[in-house]
Symmetry: C2
Subunit: 236 residues, 2 copies
DNA sequence: CGCAGACTTGAATCTCCTCAAGCTTGGTGG
DNA sequence: CCACCAAGCTTGAGGAGATTCAAGTCTGCG
């Protein structure tokens, strides 16, 4: 269903850091070659190992990036609007390393990878933006690695809750943005273990009701979690 | 001990992918601002959290990148000649996320980060190369993440041995490039557990003698390890 | 020969996983 | 309106895997 990119989407995409500084002519040429599609929940968008034909941009909804090996699989990241994903594969013209599926109903823009590479070569503003994006993505992965290797699952959960609280505005109460099974996979644990971990965090002032989290003792939780900007701060 | 960069090092550095395509004038200006230093083994080069004043290049020896939190620490990567490290921090002018120390006697070139950023802005060949480097580094991290989340420690060790065998030329026998304590940390396990893991791999045709590894039944080990290009192949 | 550092082994413990069963909830059809 | 069902989550028991701590072995070097 190749419909072309509706002009109404241009401003949202243009506001993305990665497209913000580029030449208008180049931007429009990228947009002309791309298109937008709406997907229902739980639909596979790409499979790891596939050639990277398109740069993907989530316009609304949310996307799960995950990987499999030997019958196991694991969630590696969530992509939320408005952001690109699998940029590195697009740039290198290499196969995807992760699979992607919609978590909910999502609008996704698709831009042919070869167009991205072509514009990259002639638009230095775009190249600069891609370097920013890639270096940020790399640093995020380093942080995720540190989270995984230096912390126990209980500590990872505690720090996740603090980050999520921050992302939701900082109030004591907030909702988990997806199911607990997937959260468990993201955090590198089983759903059963996540359940028990939530119970263990009660001792540090966390109460859970369905997907509703309340942090009743901020100080206590922070003392236990010991968040570090070099692991948990998304901005640096 | 600021001695400036000896011209004899220029060719080696120039042969790095990241410097190969750039303008000669820019290359020389970078080299003029940089310098080279030789460090004994087990010397700290940078500490996580420090501002990223220099882009580092390993000319000889090898470097351990590691991170700490709450009294624990973990090795995250090894850098071997000739390669750069902490490029992302340099580009973003952000604090280091990892610490670095020499594993053995090492020569390291240091180039002021602000020079790198300045040349980046005016040399599109250099910008292109940096994007290549960053996207490759990112994909390596994704693979390391998959290795860690999808495999047991025994499987990680088995696949590590196969990769190391390949890196050493493919012969049945080869030497581990550093101590087992650090290997354990790299693989996300304790030294004790690594010892036992080596013992368990005997069943799949691996014999260990000090740092000498012999793979006596290649087929058997590969069947157990089930290596995947999307995790273990460094080239894609 | 003896010592220091690196590695291994053993035993107890803890964490996490698996499997199985029970619970809750929201939706569907009677 | 309610009984039922399926999906998601929780709980429990048992076991596998990993960690810790302590002691023992090996090796290279003085």
């Amino acid at each position: 269903m190749r419909l072309g990119m509706p002009e109404s989407d241009f401003p949202d995409i243009r506001s993305l850091e990665i497209f913000a500084e580029m030449d208008q002519v180049h931007f429009e040429s990228l947009m002309r070659g791309g298109y937008v599609q709406t997907f229902p929940p739980h639909v596979d968008l790409i499979a790891e190992g596939d050639p990277s034909d398109f740069l993907h941009i989530v316009m609304s909804g949310s996307i799960d990036l995950f990987a499999s090996w030997n019958g196991r699989d694991s969630s590696l990241a969530t992509v939320r609007p408005i952001a690109t994903f699998i940029l590195a594969a697009t740039i290198r013209d290499a196969p995807y390393l992760m699979s992607a599926r919609t978590l909910e109903k999502s609008r996704v823009a698709l831009i042919p990878s070869q167009d991205v590479r072509a514009v990259f070569d002639v638009d230095s503003g775009f190249a600069r933006a891609i370097v920013n994006e890639l270096s940020q993505a790399y640093r995020r992965k380093i942080k995720a690695m540190k989270d995984l290797k230096l912390r126990t699952s209980l500590e990872r959960l505690a720090n996740y809750l603090l980050r999520e609280q921050d992302r939701c505005g900082g109030a004591a109460g907030f909702d988990l943005p997806f199911g607990k099974a997937r959260l468990a996979s993201l955090l590198g644990m089983t759903p059963e273990n996540l359940s028990r971990a939530f119970r263990n965090l009660q001792a540090y002032g966390v109460t859970v009701n369905g997907s509703r989290i309340s942090i009743t003792d901020q100080r206590d939780l922070e003392t236990f979690a010991a968040p570090s900007p070099l692991i948990d701060d998304d901005r640096i």
